[in-house]
């Protein structure tokens, strides 16, 4: 009896021991839980957040660019981008084949993308709607689509240099797209979501959303129709004269609003990556040229303002004039004779201009050139504007004073010259040209629909009297002088032709047979609405500004005046 009894005891004791051991194990786990969930809780919490929180950038819609009449010049549209998740692609070869047929891309390139060791790879970004529709119909495994916003330019090749373009990432790269990028871009938002290890978002896992704010819409001073006419007239002139390039600027004489800024050769903004580099520049503000005879306007204005001449003063001019070591000739050889001051300008006499220049002296010439804004940027709201060059006084050689009055040895941009000439049309006051007329605040922004308007900047350069006198002379240029082709029926035009030889790029002498033909003026002469400059770079054959540039001036002005409903003056 004792043996089983002792055995019961053994079992009893051992059961107690084992249970104690189990109790200890449970206590150990409890201690461990306290350690993990209290002492190290924060650390694990951070780890948890780090692995599942993702910040997603929300891209705002880029603002619209309108012309002054709210015609769309640039807008953003939603398009598809095609991407692949390579490990889900079942048959890379077949998939690449099908995609290449629709996208017109090389099959091997697509296949290489499809077999890449990555979770995400773009096949083609921002493709046409019909292409993406076709691809979607194929229901290819591992191929996905992203809605992306793409910049679209309805006018295609309307003012492409001026408007510029925005790149793949919707950031402005050139032109006004670049200059007003901050306005157009808007503010990107952020979505903080929780994702699982495969990158899918966890339902109800949104923690924070700061919505994106769409970009503001901007209204330009440009008139789409005037721009179109300026471009097509310029194109005609450049093509018929086989010129290298050309520029037309149409500006509101009194306000400085730019109504058109045309450049040739041109390109299509929608396929800007196919454009040739030569076509991309907005030459009106980025290129300088030697103005030639149009410079005589500034010299004449200075002489009148300084009262060293009156319009009817008569000068006896020899056939040529020698300044230091240089002999200055007329463009068309003529015998010596008497010229009034007016005739010097209207017949564009080089000898006469130099004679006046010598009377003025270099200090005064320098001062007036500066005053007419030819030595500073116009300050137009456009990126990459340059200013012309005039040597500082201490670097004027003996012959310099014989060059500057006829527009040589000085360089300006088309816009600078237009602005200087507009001074005469604007009663002696210089304006600041600009392109932004209005900013239409986006509805999502706090200032509801309030628009920002730009105040014109102006400064007096010459007196009312001087500008009146010179205006009359410039009318003569068109009425009976070199600018006859610039006439606009029903309106009186004031302006000046220019034909300048192109200097060699090394600065020593001039290129033979390379000219810049130009015409700059304003219309209607007595109460000008428009100031227009036309520049034709390297025309072949006939090279005269009066023959090539003046007709463009005439056609563009005529259309613009009608479009702007400027009443014709009663002339003859």
């Amino acid at each position: 009896m004792s043996a089983p009894r002792s055995r019961e005891k053994i079992v009893y004791h051992r059961l107690i021991i084992i249970f104690s051991f189990i109790f200890l194990c449970f206590s150990g786990i409890t201690a461990r839980l306290i350690y993990i969930q209290v002492i190290r809780s924060e650390e694990f919490n951070k780890q948890a957040l780090r692995q599942r929180l993702r910040k997603i950038k929300l891209t705002p819609k880029r603002g619209i660019i309108y012309d002054r009449n709210k015609n769309v010049l640039a807008m953003s549209i939603e398009v598809d981008s095609v991407y692949a998740t390579p490990r889900f692609v079942k048959d890379p070869d077949n998939t690449a084949e099908k995609l290449s047929l629709i996208l017109g891309m090389d099959k091997s390139i697509i296949k290489q993308k499809l077999t890449r060791k990555s979770g995400f790879v773009y096949i083609a970004r921002k493709i046409d709607k019909d292409k993406s529709k076709k691809i979607k119909k194929l229901k290819l495994k591992g191929i996905g689509y992203l809605r992306e916003s793409k910049r679209y330019y309805p006018g295609s090749n309307l003012a492409p240099q001026l408007i510029g373009f925005a790149g793949m990432d919707n950031k402005g790269l050139t032109g006004l797209e670049l200059y007003y990028d901050a306005l157009l871009q808007g503010e990107s938002g952020e979505l903080v979501t929780e994702i699982d290890p495969l990158g899918r978002s966890i339902p109800d896992g949104v923690l924070n959303l700061s919505p994106s704010i769409d970009g503001d819409n901007v209204v330009l001073t440009i008139d789409k129709n005037i721009q179109f006419v300026a471009e097509s007239e310029l194109k005609k002139a450049v093509e018929s004269s086989k010129a290298k390039a050309g520029v037309v600027i149409v500006m509101d004489t009194k306000t400085g609003e730019i109504l058109a800024m045309a450049n040739m050769p041109s390109f299509d903004s929608n396929v800007y990556n196919q454009a040739e580099v030569e076509t991309l520049r907005n030459r009106a503000v980025t290129d300088v040229y030697e103005p030639g005879s149009t410079m005589k306007i500034v010299i004449a204005a200075s002489a009148l303002e300084e009262k060293i001449v009156r319009p009817q003063d008569v000068f006896y001019l020899p056939s040529t004039i020698k300044v230091a070591d240089k002999e200055i000739k007329e463009a068309h050889e003529r015998p010596p004779g008497n010229f009034t001051f007016s005739q010097i300008v209207s017949k564009s006499s080089n000898v006469g201009a130099v004679t006046i220049g010598l009377k003025l002296g270099k200090e005064r010439i320098f001062r007036y050139i500066k005053s007419f804004g030819l030595m500073e940027k116009t300050g137009i709201d456009y990126p990459g504007e340059v200013k012309g060059y005039l040597p500082p006084l201490y670097r004027w050689y003996g012959s310099t004073i014989g060059n500057i009055p006829i527009g040589q040895g000085i360089s300006v941009t088309a816009l600078q010259m237009l602005r200087a000439v507009a001074v005469i049309g604007n009663d002696g006051v210089i304006v600041k040209p600009y392109l932004l007329k209005d900013v239409l605040k986006n509805e999502t922004a706090d200032s509801n629909g309030k628009s920002k308007s730009i105040k014109p900047v102006s400064r007096r350069v010459v007196s009312h009297e001087t500008s009146q006198q010179l205006k009359n002379i410039l009318k003569e240029v068109v009425a009976e002088g070199t600018g006859g082709n610039a006439r606009v029926s029903g309106y009186e035009v004031a302006g000046k032709t220019g034909t300048a030889q192109k200097p060699k790029s090394n600065g020593k002498g001039y290129e033979k047979g390379k000219y810049i033909a130009s015409f700059v003026g304003f219309v209607p002469a007595d109460n000008p609405k428009l100031a227009v400059i036309v520049i034709i770079d390297e025309p072949q054959g006939v090279i005269w500004g009066g023959s090539i540039a003046a007709p463009v001036f005439s056609n563009v002005s005529e259309y613009s005046l009608r479009r702007l409903k400027v009443l014709p003056a009663v002339v003859n």
Binding site: R7, F19, I22, F23, I29, R32, F44, A48, D196
Partner: protein, 365 residues
């Protein structure tokens, strides 16, 4: 039924209910995401768990009514069935995650290793106590029974390791070892057996590089966060980010595919994440109470077979709970065994409930 036993009897029933209910509730949360992803039905695993619970309770009632002594008579039959099933699963079993653990019988998957646990405990309690029937001085006869038990258990364990399912094999080994301790085996011979089994365990570990990695991960968890340490790290993140009070029921983030096996082996981590320290410790306490009542039934049993069987069943459940919670919290190596009555898994649930039925039957006598 005596009064003290009544308390254990009803206590055991109560805590069984609590644990099973907790399991169903937590599976409804932990399995919903993976269920929807795999089966397009968020309640896929929940429905199955509820179905198995119903079957399990029928088993529980059955075994609580049938005299447990009858089990002793069929202990060999059960062991043979277990062996047959374990051999079958190696050849006909469904392979998943690199292991053959399931037999598919008429659309229902069945895990023979769970049946092995059940049958080995009954066989163990039977054979280890046969000496008592013999006359004193027949020690060698006892040794014969014991050695044949060791032999049969070893074959079972070996077959389970071949699946491979090291965790289940180890929990059977440990439960049977505790059963030997309990049944009055001499300390010295226990010690000898322990020493003898060590090289075998080591060999089994070393054969499989994955087990070496798990041990390595266990010893140096920070060194291997992306490899084998990934599971453990995700488990710790789940529990740790739960903090004191948890994220709230259903609010687990780790169940979104960060934590693997969230509804099976790692469900305790989801409990820690959703219900916090309060919930996790409650689970520990519930298991502790369960073990306490199981032990109490064992202690009170007048019948030595009932005593040892009750203790063996209680050990088996407690050991699994400890190994599972230890692995999930990173104090024991990850072996891949379920948390009894809580983890999703029909066979485990069924046999655990049957075992509890036997416990209740022992308490009644």
């Amino acid at each position: 039924m005596r009064r003290e036993n009544a308390l254990s009897y009803y206590g055991l029933i109560a805590f069984t209910f609590i644990i099973v209910l907790l399991g169903i509730i937590m599976i409804s949360s932990a399995s919903s995401i993976i269920a929807f992803a795999r089966e397009k039905d968020a309640f896929f695993y929940l429905k199955r768990q509820i179905a198995w619970t119903s079957v399990g309770f029928i088993g529980l009632i059955f075994f609580s009514k049938v005299d447990f002594h009858r089990l002793r008579k069929i202990s060999f039959v059960l062991a043979v069935i277990s062996l047959i099933l374990l051999v079958l699963v190696l050849f006909l079993g469904k392979s998943a995650g690199g292991a053959r653990r399931w037999l598919i019988l008429g659309g229902i998957s069945f895990q023979p290793s769970e049946f092995a646990k059940f049958s080995m405990i009954i066989l163990g309690a039977d054979l280890l106590l046969r000496i008592r029937k013999e006359k004193p001085g027949r020690e060698s006869k006892h040794k014969g029974y014991r050695n044949s038990l060791i032999f049969i258990v070893a074959i079972n364990i070996l077959l389970i390791i071949l699946q491979p399912d090291f965790g289940t094999a180890f929990s059977i080994f440990l439960a049977l070892f505790l059963l030997m301790v309990l049944s009055g085996e001499k300390i010295f011979s226990l010690f000898k057996m322990g020493i003898a089994s060590l090289p075998v365990i080591l060999l089994i570990i070393l054969i499989n590089p994955e087990r070496i990695e798990r041990i390595f991960t266990f010893l140096f968890p920070d060194k291997n966060v992306l490899g084998g340490g990934f599971h453990l790290n995700q488990s710790l993140i789940a529990i740790g980010s739960g903090g004191l009070y948890g994220k709230g029921f259903g609010m687990s983030r780790q169940k979104f595919f960060y934590l693997p096996a969230a509804h099976t082996d790692f469900i305790f981590a989801i409990i820690g994440e959703e219900l916090g320290l309060v919930g996790a410790i409650s689970v520990v306490i519930v298991f502790l109470m369960f073990t306490y009542f199981g032990m109490k039934i064992a202690l009170r049993s007048k019948d030595l077979f009932g005593k040892v069987l009750a203790a063996g069943i209680t050990f088996m459940i407690a050991i699994q709970a400890i190994i599972n919670m230890g692995a999930v919290t990173g104090v024991l190596p990850i072996t891949g065994i379920p948390l009894p009555l809580i983890s999703f898994g029909g066979t485990s649930l069924l046999f655990t409930l049957c075992e509890i039925g036997i416990l209740l039957n022992i308490a009644l006598r």
